[in-house]
């Protein structure tokens, strides 16, 4: 007895140590970027979240919920408080206030930067408990270890990537953990917890729809398999009732849970659950024959009423049809045809196989093995894991960014596989005291030992390799802030390209506080966050037409573009140009999307075909089409570019083409005000209207002719000395 107690203590101690070191590994492997660069917010969306968090901390919760942001989407503005998921910001504000309360006043930026790594520890803990329910604590520890360092999850949770996903995966795992517990025991407490965390998830990420559909799917499958029980009934109805009511409290979600088709499955299964429960009751009361007729009749009736009702409600507009993003998951061509703005985002591209291996390494082949092993047992909770695996494998294949939701279940299944393997082979206790089997020869023992040792050794070796792989991937692929770009000097020493911040800082210090900056939407959040200037469009992409306006301005000739931009009160235009240093993510490479998106709105004025050469190539050199050479984007990107070389021809290093001065021509409607060190960011000001009413082109022509005709007149100023 005492020995047992001691063993339990040792086990607890070991578990605690393992958890501590796992959290340590999870956090520290996410800190590469902070150590290499600095504590900085990454990429694009996090800048908005950061700005919103600052607003929340400065103005309080109620003002935050009612926040109307007039500094974006000029002149429309954005009802920011009602169109964002506040979970992320409120959590970090709570952390910030909490730390202040205990006497640790930390800068809100540092809270935001280190938010994701901190929550990855919680994810590991939740994954542990989830896997414990699926198999046992051994598998749980393995799964927690996997999720802590799997690159598929790290990709969205390194320090500085302050995005909704950073907290969402944690909440996803916690919700699922409580759901599995609830569904196994029928406990109302656990399903209430699941509902509460579901609410938290709804407040944090649009991907909550995944939970809204997965849990009903789980229930539906169980009912189909004839596994209905009162446990399921109490778990699901509690979760659905509380979760739905709670989720409707988020302003952005509002009445969606009862009006949008994305949520109808949950409602339908809720109804089905009542019917099945009633059927079960009736079945226990009447004879089988009678029950059969009742069942068939009522099922047919319910189905007819349900389907008709759904169609009627959709037709009369009480239920919103599916959202575009949802369509694009099922009909993979939908986005390409109907919503180019969704198709233009690189995160929404389909996934090639190396991405799977890159993000999960050997877990990717342990994963199907794990699913198969779960099939052999097929308990109720295993059905959940299988449904999750199949659905997410599909989603991850269709969209790169959904790799993120697949990774946790890969970790769980792979952990189940490895743990089962070790259950069989890592048991080194021999049945030596077993008298019945007789003496076991040394040779037999040796053979068994070899078997077990080789299996354990080789899988430990693979695990070891996995750790190296994860560290390498994290360090090389996922730790760049993308605001600051790492590069090398000619002698090989590391250098940083800091053009973005240089330009944004210039904007902040040198332009009027209410200046409006037009740029492609990718840079909207950064301009708002770093330069604090008003933008026309940003990464929120809620208004396709507004984005198309900017696209149209960029693809039109300069006089027309000037008109469009003036109409929208724009003061500055910002373009990203990578041709000088070979930065391939620049605006010219995104230009076709601008053309496509504006063609969607003005098919008569903008035609994608005209931007290609006659043989259908996308070129910038002498062979480029005239429409291309005339477009504002071309002019603003290459203006003065050949002057870096010989003044006649410049070499674009991204596209490997020679750009001629004569193609670029003159810039009459815009003037260059700032170009960053490596020419990455170029800023132009819209010229003032001509004081004597000429159009700017003829004014420019006139000035040039005048300059050609006249020698430079030297303005002599009268000498103004102090007269003594």
């Amino acid at each position: 007895m005492a020995q047992n107690q001691a063993l339990r203590w040792i086990q607890l101690l070991l578990k605690c140590t393992i958890f501590l070191s796992m959290t340590g590994a999870a956090v520290s492997s996410r800190l590469f970027s902070v150590i290499r660069f600095e504590s900085i917010i990454h990429e694009f969306d996090p800048w908005f979240n950061f700005r919103a968090t600052k607003y929340l901390v400065n103005h309080g919760f109620y003002k935050f919920l009612n926040w109307f942001d007039d500094r974006t989407w000029y002149p429309l503005g954005r009802v920011t408080g009602g169109t964002l998921y506040p979970g992320l910001m409120t959590t970090s504000a709570a952390v910030w206030h909490g730390l202040r309360k205990i006497g640790l006043p930390v800068d809100i930026r540092n809270v935001c930067v280190l938010f994701a790594p901190a929550f990855s520890g919680v994810t590991a803990w939740a994954t542990y408990h989830l896997t414990c329910e699926i198999k046992d604590s051994g598998a749980g520890l393995l799964a927690a270890g996997f999720i802590a360092i799997a690159p598929g999850y790290i990709s969205r949770s390194v320090a500085g990537s302050y995005d909704n996903e950073a907290i969402a995966i944690t909440l996803l795992m916690v919700t699922f953990m409580f759901w599995i517990k609830a569904m196994k025991t029928g406990s109302i407490m656990h399903s209430t917890f699941a509902a509460v965390f579901y609410f938290y998830m709804v407040s944090a990420w649009g991907g909550y729809v995944f939970i809204t559909n997965l849990i009903p799917l789980h229930i539906f499958l169980l009912i189909l398999m004839g596994r209905y029980s009162t446990r399921l009934y109490s778990a699901y109805t509690t979760w659905y009732a509380i979760g739905t009511l709670a989720s409707m409290q988020i302003p952005f979600v509002g009445f969606l849970p009862i009006r949008s088709n994305d949520h109808m499955a949950a409602l339908g299964v809720f109804g089905l659950m009542q019917v099945v429960a009633l059927g079960n009751f009736v079945k226990s009361q009447v004879s089988w024959q009678k029950f059969k007729t009742v069942m068939v009749l009522s099922l047919a009736f319910l189905l007819a009423v349900g389907i008709c009702g759904l169609f009627a409600l959709t037709y009369f507009g009480y239920i919103a049809p599916w959202t575009g993003r949802f369509y694009s998951l099922w009909d993979t061509n939908y986005a390409k045809i109907h919503i180019p703005i969704i198709a233009s985002v690189s995160e929404h591209q389909p996934t090639a196989w190396p991405a799977f291996f890159f993000d999960t390494q050997f877990l990717i082949w342990l994963f199907p093995a794990g699913v198969f092993l779960l099939f052999l047992e097929l308990k109720d909770e295993h059905v959940f894991v299988i449904a999750y695996s199949v659905l997410c494998s599909y989603f991850a294949g269709v969209m790169v960014r959904l790799m993120l939701t697949l990774t946790p279940i890969i970790c769980v299944c792979a952990a189940v596989t490895i743990s089962k393997l070790f259950d069989v082979y890592a048991d080194f206790s021999f049945p030596q005291d077993n008298a019945a089997s007789g003496a076991i020869s040394r040779k037999t023992r040796l053979m068994t030992l070899i078997t077990k040792l080789t299996v354990c050794a080789s899988f430990l070796g693979y695990l070891y390799l996995f750790v190296y792989h994860c560290t390498w991937v994290t360090s090389n692929a996922y730790s760049s802030p993308s605001v600051v770009l790492p590069s090398r000097n000619q002698d090989g020493s590391p250098a940083l390209i800091d053009d973005f911040r240089e330009a944004y800082y210039w904007l902040r210090m040198n332009t009027a506080e209410d200046a409006k900056v037009a740029s492609w939407w990718d840079y909207g959040y950064q301009i708002g966050g770093m330069a604090d200037r008003t933008t026309l469009v940003d990464n929120n992409t809620w208004n396709n037409t507004h984005i198309a306006i900017v696209g149209k301005a960029m693809s039109s000739p300069q006089d027309k573009a000037y008109e469009i931009l003036k109409e929208h009160d724009v003061d500055y235009v910002l373009v990203i140009f990578g041709g000088l240093i070979g930065f391939s993510g620049d605006d010219i490479n995104k230009f076709l999307w601008m053309v496509r998106i504006s063609e969607g709105i003005w098919p008569d004025e903008i035609k994608e075909r005209e931007y290609f050469t006659p043989s259908g190539e996308y070129r910038m050199d002498a062979m480029a089409s005239q429409t291309m050479k005339d477009s504002l984007m071309y002019k603003l990107s290459y203006y003065r570019f050949p002057s870096v070389y010989n003044g006649v021809e410049g070499m674009d290093r991204v596209r490997g083409q020679r750009i001629r001065q004569q193609d670029i021509g003159e810039l009459d409607y815009f003037e260059e005000v700032f170009t960053s060190e490596n020419w990455l960011v170029r800023l132009y000001k819209l010229k003032e209207l001509d004081p004597i009413g000429r159009d700017l082109r003829s004014a420019g022509e006139f000035d040039r002719n005048a300059a050609r005709g006249l020698k430079k007149r030297i303005a002599r100023k009268p000498a103004l000395d102090f007269r003594v």
């Binding site: 389909p350 196989w353 199907p368 198969f372 092993l373 393997l421 299996v455």
Partner: protein, 349 residues
């Protein structure tokens, strides 16, 4: 003097009228060759030139396998479908209002027979789909964009482009009904239904069989995880050809965000073997050891059991190691700079 000028003029006019083919002649020419006029060095000036009032769609292509133009091969049935759909409704090539005529012509590259056609159109790459309108002078043409996605999407896109360019409204698509496929489906369904009705008990057993469901699910997961959806969405090429065209390339080297269709197949086989070995280690090996734990007479034979166990385990492990090494090597091809390898074959990589 004046007379000779007049005769010259008349002669020139006559010549131009004779040189160009009228709509009827074009229709005749087309019907001779199953609806598509074949352009050759001899006839192309006659077909394309002069004053006519028909729109012409010209496909410059090269289906010769030696040239290796996969897009040309893809386009071939689509172009035929387009032509047949047009001729199905308009056997004379005239639109319903009788005002506009549309004909289809094609030149499949052959250095001896039709090289001049390609020179005429300045074609330096194939396939090209060109459009000639009667309003414009001889030698002017415009190009029709070929969308990237193959099949019906492309046919529909070309058709709508043609409708817009010609102003012909009654251009409908007529897909030939594939009776063979329908028949096969019908027969197969009937056979399956009959078989199921005969062996109800067995069918019920199969439907309830966990392993079958498990295998099916795992199969789907494996192919989805090896980039099947990427191929489906992007319509990737099945495999590549080396520069000189004498070797097949299986992997797009150094490109992590792109792949050939065959890569999915290779990788899913690799994943399948690896997963099968792991499942074998977990379930099959203990089962086999248990099976041999007692010999035929029922006496325990631990030595034989552990021998079988060891052999099976080692063979699974070695397969696993070899295939996993292959996977790492393949991934190394895709991701340049990936530092980890397992087994290094001497010489290569």
């Amino acid at each position: 003097m004046r007379v000779s000028l007049l005769t010259n003029l008349v002669a020139a006019l006559l010549a131009s009228v004779c040189a160009a083919l009228s709509n009827q002649a074009l229709a005749k020419e087309a019907s001779k060759q199953k609806g598509v006029i074949k352009l050759t060095n001899a006839n192309f000036e006659k077909v394309l030139g002069g004053q006519k009032d028909a729109y012409l769609v010209v496909l410059l292509t090269s289906t010769n396998p030696a040239i290796g133009c996969t897009l040309c091969a893809e386009l071939e049935p689509e172009f035929d479908l387009l032509t047949e759909s047009w001729l199905h409704d308009h056997p004379a090539g005239l639109s319903a209002d009788g005002e506009r005529a549309l004909f289809f012509a094609k030149a499949d590259f052959d250095a001896k027979k039709n090289s001049k056609v390609f020179v005429h159109f300045n074609a330096n790459n194939v396939p090209r789909l060109l459009f000639i309108s009667p309003e414009n002078a001889f030698g002017t043409f415009s190009q029709i964009n070929l969308p990237g996605e193959p099949g019906m999407t492309r046919v529909a896109a070309i058709m709508s482009a043609l409708k817009e360019a010609t102003g012909i409204a009654d251009f409908e698509l007529h897909q030939p009904i594939n009776w063979g496929s329908i028949a096969v489906t019908a027969v197969a369904t009937a056979v399956i239904v009959a078989v199921v009705r005969r062996n109800k008990a067995l069918a019920a057993k199969l439907v309830a069989c966990k392993s079958i469901w498990g295998l099916g699910t795992v199969f789907i997961i494996v192919i989805w995880n090896s980039g099947y959806m990427f191929n489906a969405i992007r319509g990737s090429q099945f495999a590549g050809m080396s520069q000189n065209g004498d070797a097949v390339i299986y992997f797009m080297e150094g490109q992590q965000q792109n792949q050939f269709g065959i890569e999915t197949q290779i990788v899913s086989v690799i994943y399948g073997i690896l997963a099968a070995c792991t499942v074998g280690l977990i379930t099959f090996v203990p089962y086999a050891a248990n099976f041999y734990a007692k010999d035929k007479t029922g006496r325990p034979s631990p030595s034989k059991a552990s021998f079988v166990e060891m052999i099976l385990t080692l063979s699974f492990l070695i397969t696993l190691y070899a295939v996993y090494s292959a996977l790492m090597a393949v991934f190394g091809l895709k991701s340049s700079g990936y530092p980890f390898r397992l087994l290094r074959l001497p010489g290569k990589y």
